[in-house]
Amino acid sequence: MARYDRAITVFSPDGHLFQVEYALEAVRKGTLAVGVRGKDTIVLGVEKKSTAKLQDARTVRKIVKIDDHICLAFAGLTADARVLVNRARVEAQSYRLTLDEKVSVDYITKHIAGIQQKYTQSGGVRPFGISTLIVGFDALGAPQLYQTDPSGIYSAWKANAIGRNSKTIREFLEKHYVETSGRDTIKLALKALMETVEAGGKSVEVAVMEKDTGLRILSDDEVDALVKEVEAEKAAADAAKRGGQGAGGGSS
């Protein structure tokens, strides 16, 4: 059978890889995913895609386990994500079998990013249309958050967002990020999500990873409760600001 030898991703005269940039466009159209790293907690939050009335929402999964201690959320083409996640899962077990050790977050991120890069430099294939947020704990117990994108770049982050309106969310996080722990980290992630997504368990899914407990996906009720707390805090902060202005703005 003929081998595919014609590359689809080739350079433009001014040094761009248009296929990669178009892939990033596809990512930008995908539903939002947010990752926040705390002192001892990592939180992944995703915007729940609106499902058709007859569709079973539980089968649409955007936060997945790669191994017991590593978790991934993505933005972009869901089918592409399925393939990449599968490759990562196989690699995680293969690593365990060969080295009798769990993969580190850094290793599996490098592996996934490597695959994404390979698809920008191979014949007959197009790049994967997804960016991923990969979370887990390193060997010393420190939380890690990594991001990959269709070009094959990867780097570690304190907090990041990918997908729809991710620029807005990232700016919000840049302004408001502080190193938090436990419940506060979850609330920070929720606050970021709520900048552009309607708040509530019906529209967001939140997953929390703590050092020894692995991944825990919060139930709709838990999310609703946290959203209430965040909204209450916001209202209190707004009232305090207005009260301060009123008192200080007496003169004109």
């Binding site: 386990k65 790669i66 191994d67 599968n86 899962r89 196989v90 995680a92 077990q93 293969s94 079998l97």
Partner: protein, 193 residues
């Protein structure tokens, strides 16, 4: 020579193995645990060629884990037993794995199960069974003592009688043993002898 015995009760499975790692006539290790967990409610007792034992069991464990992660659900004991047997059969006529295994597991709907596999890819579901020279003396003893309503204490006693028999009659009886149990709460070490 490896000693491996298993007993299935109404709501538990118990496996006993010796803990000696030997290289011809030299005992390298006295505390080698030959009963390895596959997941929270299944374990392999593996006897036979030292390299094959570990290589094969680790391979099965990795594949079982991969399935669980891919499909967000764990395999049943029966499925694992058949998968393992299939792998033994696949390798049989090229480069066979020289190991005999006992697979013990507890499934919520089915309860406890005990499977016996040998290096020729035989698979049997059993109530009591085992491998090794020691098993030759102990199988008939267990046949006499086993009954369907066995308690955990009775099973431990059976295992200890088996170990005593091996020490009595086998020229090269291993010195130390470990007994593990699986019930609805998972895997637990009962005692070391």
């Amino acid at each position: 020579m490896d000693y491996l015995m298993g007993i299935k009760g109404p709501d538990f499975v118990m496996v006993c193995s010796d803990t000696q790692a030997a290289h011809s006539v030299i005992s390298i290790k006295h505390d080698e645990d030959k009963i390895v967990p596959l997941d929270s409610h299944k374990m392999f007792g593996i006897a036979g060629e030292a390299g094959d034992r570990v290589n094969f069991s680790e391979f099965v464990i990795a594949n079982v884990k991969l399935y669980a992660l891919r499909n967000s659900t764990e395999l049943s004991t029966s499925s694992v037993a058949h998968f393992t047997r299939g792998e033994l059969a696949k390798a049989l006529r090229s480069s066979p794995y020289h190991c005999n295994l006992l697979l013990a597991g507890y499934d919520e709907k089915v309860g406890p199960s005990l499977y016996w596999m040998d290096y020729l890819a035989t698979l049997n579901k059993i109530n009591t069974g085992g491998t090794g020279y020691g098993a030759m003396f102990v199988l008939s003893l267990f046949d006499k003592l086993w009954h369907p309503n066995l308690t955990e204490a009775e099973a431990v006693d059976m295992m200890e009688q088996g170990i005593a028999e091996v020490k009595r009659r086998l020229v090269v009886a291993p010195p130390h043993y470990i007994i593990k149990i699986i019930d609805k709460n998972g895997i637990r070490t009962v005692k070391t002898v």
